[in-house]
Amino acid sequence: MERLPPPDLQRLMERLADGDREAFRPLFESLWPFLRRFTSRHLRPEECEDAAQEALLKIFRRAAEFEPSRPALAWALGIAAFEIRTARRRRQRRREEPPPEDAFESQRHPDPTPEEAALTRDLEAMLREALGALRPEDAETLRLFARGERAAVAAATFRKRVERALRRLRAVWRTTDERP
């Protein structure tokens, strides 16, 4: 793995903290790939890019506060580690891990009664109807989400789409459920 030589990083951070704008470009070019590799070791592919970007922007935003007596590598890694933790906590809150494909299948009674089978058929029909009532892009978003995939957009954008689609699904479901 290509490593960022600590002496260069230290010197460049000190210069940037002092206000030497000439240090910006070389520091950016050495820090960006380093942060991407670091976050990719701790996060999923769809998360590591965002976390690396957030860490990079935060490092540069706080560069004026950098104290030359501190080791620059540890300082930068501390900021990156914070973004990694934030991404993990966000993932846990959203519970983005989709259930295993057979999760519902395994919870079904191996030998359902005729009434249970009828109820399951009705629920599946209602879900299909509710999905059909959604806009095509919402339905597609939920299908991708259920399969553990993501559309070709930024993670934050896909998250918002999922939340919106679920909200609309709930609204449609309530309407469907309340019909006589």
Partner: protein, 179 residues
Amino acid sequence: MSVPDGALARRAKRAYEAGRLEAAVGRSLLLLPIVALALFCCSDPARILISGLCLLAAVTFCLWRGQAYGRGVRPGLLAGIVPLAIPLAAQAGGHLCDAGRCLLVPSVCILAGAAGGVALGLLAPRPRDAHGIPLVSASLIAGLAGSVGCLLYGLIGLGGMVLGLLAGAAPVLAARQVR
């Protein structure tokens, strides 16, 4: 999603400049209580307000710009504290004296300026360092800080302070140049 490196570099540069400006403003706002005190003591706050705002702007710019400009801030403020504080102390001590009506005012400002000038001569970087930029920024900040105090006594006070500052700094700087 991958952002092109050029776009990300521009965002990072903007973040860097915004962070520097934020830090500079935060530090220069520490001068607000002193400016507020001078405003409180003054019968004509407009001129104090203008010099105070100029001081804050100068300190913010030098801190944001950094390097040679930033190195003049601390010596400038330390040198300017004397001509700033003494007129305020005189005012607070009850010696209310409008410019032109007593000899004490110009004397106080000249002497305070001279003390500040000696401090400037001792603390500021030498004229040949970094093309003289740190010395210029230190002198400007010292002058503006002193003006916040000495403008309490009008333009005579300001003039006396500037003369004192020059008279105090010049020989000390000349001596340091020789060494």
